[in-house]
């Protein structure tokens, strides 16, 4: 039995750190784990996707349409873009933040209205204002750890395992801030 998680967002939001932290937590729990990410061009403010899969034995590192148990989304438009990858019965966990893509900035297209309402009619959705919670924790840069907290609540892994991974991943002076961010996400 393999569980598939997709992490989607905008280049620069820290999705790669999120998948690394998640991968470390899952590996420490004794699962077979595979992560797949894309580096290079798309990281420059483009739409970015990372896959995390775990179970007894994982073959393919990628997640296809209709296969994700969870989508963890850093931006609401990206939730709409990738929702077709969610399994029927899967859960979308999304940041409600909006980041305008270039076609909207240039005025070529409008940022769609009512995305959250539409998505909520399609699947189980939990939306949080991760930017607000990150600022509350002490830094707008902690959006990714807020979202890890949000995901952690859905998974059968003890809180200590997550906190330990945070300690091992982030620089010492940011550990407390990130733990606060994690808890705010977990309690959201």
């Amino acid at each position: 039995m393999t569980t598939s998680i997709m992490i989607v967002g905008v280049g620069g939001q820290g999705t790669l750190l999120t998948s690394k932290l998640l991968g470390d937590v899952l590996a420490a729990q004794g699962y077979d784990v595979k992560l797949s990410e894309v580096h290079g061009m798309s990281q420059r403010g483009g739409s970015v996707v990372t896959y995390v899969k775990y179970g007894d034995k994982v073959y393919s590192p990628i997640v296809d349409q209709g296969e994700a148990d969870y989508i963890l989304s850093f931006e609401i438009l990206e939730s709409a873009r990738w929702i077709s990858y969610l399994k029927v019965g899967g859960v979308l966990l999304t940041n409600s933040q909006k980041i305008w893509p270039m076609p909207v900035i240039t005025g070529a297209m409008a940022y769609p209205e009512g995305i959250l309402e539409k998505l909520s009619a399609m699947a189980e959705v939990q939306a949080v204002d991760a930017l607000k919670l990150a600022k509350q924790a002490g830094s707008p840069m902690a959006v990714n750890v807020v979202l890890i907290g949000l995901l952690s609540k859905r998974m059968d892994i003890p809180e200590e395992a997550w906190l330990k991974a945070i300690e091992e991943t982030v620089p010492p002076k940011f550990v407390e801030l990130n733990k606060r961010a994690f808890r705010l996400g977990r309690e959201a």
């Binding site: 420059r44 590192p61 209709g66 270039m102 399609m122």
Partner: protein, 579 residues
């Protein structure tokens, strides 16, 4: 101990464990992290070369000196390195020599999706293809054994999904390898006709021996299961097959050049329906057809484009697709864009304003081709901008030269721009070249290069100055501008395109993402002064957007560069850099 490792990190681990001593590469997605990870092992000497050809030649030299040697490149990098490697196939090796080539099916970060397996066939080099990180480590070791046993460079082929996926790898100890003594042997190492004629005979004998090896090596593996359907596959495609058809019989090929014949024919005889699953070209399929082995499905099912995936397999073979719901409205695309504060933005705003023909090159500044700047006419390959501006202006004459520039980055200039500049001087060109010097190799994730004054290990070295190189090559008109000052940049470009001699403008400002570059306080816009004219939107900054017909700045994205302020005629911008 097991560790989550990128395929690229696992390749580096394999190098370490195999006793490799020398690594030289040029960065290229998706291969870059191999060399960065190799540099973390004290026992391995690692460096960035100015291009893949120099990297490969350096590795050949280190092999001649008796060291297990290595270089890595992306698929198009192999085009650059092909010259030495095709002939190194004839000379063979002293210490083992492994070359990694990372293909990019789906073109996540590349200008084409060429299939590197053709190179292995054309250069008559053995090629191994791992499926995941653990195999990356193991196959590096196998490749060294093949290299030394068969006296040949060996090629390790990965792809984006292998290079940039992580899985658990058990770490082993390093096996130290003493340098194999160099013995002078001109008949082997001097590739002159009289010697090469004899060496070619050796190459063909070697391929014969490798074909026999392919039938028995553990790199190729039969996994018998349900015989109703059997798959012949390799690399990442093997993983897709196992995920979708876990019960089926599979022949997994780890040695993809040369391919076995009898092993495949025997497997074919045991299954009712034989399907070949491979990304990009039908190399395995063509081999099977050449040897009269039945293929019941291959490229006719999967095509030649992009990556495969679980659903592509399901669809091609009539298996049920998982149900899903798609968003029922068009979602605006999110193409990559220059970062806020990017030094290229000022230059491309000027080029866009002047409506010049811009022959571009490979790097972050390729993004100058996107809306709203739309400032780039062509991008071909590393270094092509300078050769192209020469041919273009020669054919269209002085009038066209006054409306045309080449644009090339600092690292790309060092990679293969210099010979283009020599050509401009030699052949009396009047073209204008802009070298965008952001003091780093940007797009691949901040690697040092010969202009930065730092090595791969961030140790100081002589910083080669682009202006010195251009002057030494004979360019009489060389000048430096700061793209942040758009008025000065515009004036410099106008002067140089009007000049009747070849000129180089070095457009210099460090990448905003470098740690030493200051992030200034965010600007903000006085809504009473903003007239909603959208002038500031012409620069395509991700930090500026429009609300209620007025421009607004997202403070978490703005780095206070002040470029937008230079666009505003109404003084609506407050705070930040320029105040």
């Amino acid at each position: 101990m097991k560790k989550l490792m990128l395929g690229n990190q696992a390749v580096a681990r394999g190098l370490y464990e195999a006793g490799c001593r020398f690594v030289s590469s040029y960065p290229g997605t998706p291969s870059t992290e191999i060399t960065e990870a190799a540099a973390t092992y004290d026992e391995v000497y690692a460096e960035w070369a100015p291009n893949e050809k120099v990297a490969a030649e350096s590795a050949v030299g280190a092999s001649l000196a008796g060291a297990r040697s290595f270089c890595a490149m992306k698929h198009v990098g192999f085009n650059v390195a092909a010259d030495p490697l095709f002939t190194a196939s004839y000379t063979g090796v002293n210490g083992g020599l492994v070359v990694c080539v990372a293909d990019d099916p789906g073109m996540h970060s590349s200008q084409n999706e060429q299939d590197s397996r053709h190179y292995a066939i054309a250069a008559k080099l053995p090629m191994v293809e791992p499926s995941d990180s653990r195999e990356c480590r193991d196959f590096v070791k196998a490749a060294y054994e093949i290299s030394e046993r068969f006296d040949t460079p060996a090629v390790l082929r990965t792809c984006t999904r292998v290079a940039h996926s992580q899985c658990l790898v058990e770490l082993h100890e390093r096996e130290e390898r003493a340098l194999k003594p160099y013995e002078r042997n001109p008949q082997k190492y001097v590739a002159a006709p009289a010697n090469s004629i004899k060496r070619h005979i050796e190459v063909e004998k070697r391929m014969e021996a490798l074909r026999a090896f392919a039938e028995t090596t553990g790199l190729n593996r039969v996994e018998m299961g349900d015989t109703a359907i059997g798959f012949v596959t390799s690399g990442t495609c093997y993983l897709y097959v196992k995920e979708v058809f876990p019960e089926a019989s599979v022949l997994k090929l780890g040695l993809v050049n040369p391919l076995p014949v009898k092993l495949i024919a025997d497997f074919a005889a045991k299954v009712d329906r034989l399907i070949v699953v491979e990304e990009l070209d039908g190399v395995i399929e063509a081999h099977m057809r050449e040897h009269g082995i039945r293929v019941d499905g291959g490229k006719d099912l999967f095509g030649y484009l992009g990556e495969l995936s679980q659903n592509k397999l399901r669809k091609a073979l009539g298996a049920a697709l998982p149900a899903f719901k798609a968003y029922d409205e068009t979602v605006p695309g999110r193409p990559p864009a220059m970062c806020p504060g990017c030094p290229h933005r000022g230059l491309f705003t000027v080029l866009s304003k002047l409506k010049l023909t811009v022959l571009g090159d490979i790097g972050c500044y390729t993004l100058g081709s996107g809306a709203p700047l739309n400032a780039v006419d062509s991008v071909l390959c590393m270094g092509a901008s300078i050769g192209m501006v020469h041919g273009y202006t020669k054919m269209l004459g002085e009038e066209a030269a006054q409306h045309t520039v080449a644009v090339i980055g600092d690292s790309t200039f060092m990679h293969s721009g210099i010979t283009g500049v020599v050509n401009l001087v030699y052949n009396r060109s009047i073209a204008t070249v802009l070298v965008l010097d952001n003091s780093i190799t940007g797009m691949t994730g901040h690697q040092q290069n010969p202009t930065t004054g730092l090595t791969l290990q961030n140790e100081p070295t002589y910083p080669i100055k682009i202006e010195d190189v251009c002057r030494a090559a004979g360019i009489q008109r060389v000048r430096v501008v700061d793209p942040q000052d758009m008025a000065a940049t515009e004036a410099a470009i106008k002067e140089e395109i009007a000049a009747d001699a070849a000129s180089v403008i070095i457009v210099r400002r460090p990448c905003q993402m470098l740690e030493y570059v200051e992030v200034k306080p965010a600007l903000f816009i006085d809504p009473d002064k903003c007239k909603g004219c959208r002038s500031c939107m012409k620069i395509g900054c991700p930090a500026i957007f429009f609300v209620d017909k007025k421009a607004s700045i997202e403070p978490t994205l703005c780095v206070g560069c002040g470029l937008c302020e230079q666009m505003c005629k109404f003084g609506a911008f407050e705070g930040g850099a320029a105040k």
